[in-house]
Symmetry: C2
Subunit: 126 residues, 2 copies
């Protein structure tokens, strides 16, 4: 795949507070059977929640994974929290996929974003 067909990675923007973040930090087990499918399903489901603002994800190879979900208000977050499929996935996560995790649900009081000014370039090649 050539580089120019890949959208550039950009973090979820800094919205105008207040909004909510759910910070999920996890170390996974060695047996990840079924994790990929469930994770994809969860990503699809959460997008249908009114007030869902986006998600950032990063994982150190073989190590800690951090997921940050962004929600407009407590109602949006509650709808995701109590979603039945999400609940079932959490139970399976505890039983199979996670060695340890922490969840921090927090109300954003201040936010700030930065994007580097672009230097004009010729058309991509390759």
């Amino acid at each position: 795949m050539s580089d120019h067909s890949v959208a550039p990675v950009v973090p979820v923007e800094a919205y105008e507070p207040p909004y909510y973040v759910a910070v999920f930090t996890a170390v996974r087990t060695q047996d990840q059977s079924g994790y990929g499918e469930t994770n994809e399903r969860m990503e699809d489901l959460v997008k249908d929640i009114p007030g869902y603002l986006g998600m950032d994800y990063a994982q150190n190879p073989g190590g800690l994974a951090i997921t940050v979900g962004y929600f407009r208000d407590a109602e949006a977050l509650a709808e995701w929290r109590y979603n039945a499929e999400h609940r079932a996935a959490q139970k399976r996560g505890q039983a199979e996929w996670y060695e340890s995790y922490s969840l921090h649900v927090a109300k954003v009081e201040r936010s700030h974003g930065f994007v580097r000014a672009r230097v004009p370039q010729g058309p991509a090649t390759g």
Copy 2:
């Protein structure tokens, strides 16, 4: 290096709310000259802040990096925010190291932790 000399990766724990999280999501530039030294210095500095609770970090290879700092209260966070060396590092980050970033500062209202029960094992070998 043998495995048993490496401490297991564990996320920062879920403290009793309220406390603060600072979520910093960033995409770095190609030229990272000086970043490593500055980052190490910042990690040393923040540990001296009374009320600093810990930090989680993950980066997708070549992509998004997420840093989450945890602080006991707004005063601890403010002390870090206004630290002169930290301010200087932020300016250099905008000038050199970051393509884009978002910062979300939030007060934790709910937290939850999970650690898998350990199966007893024999002594490590290797």
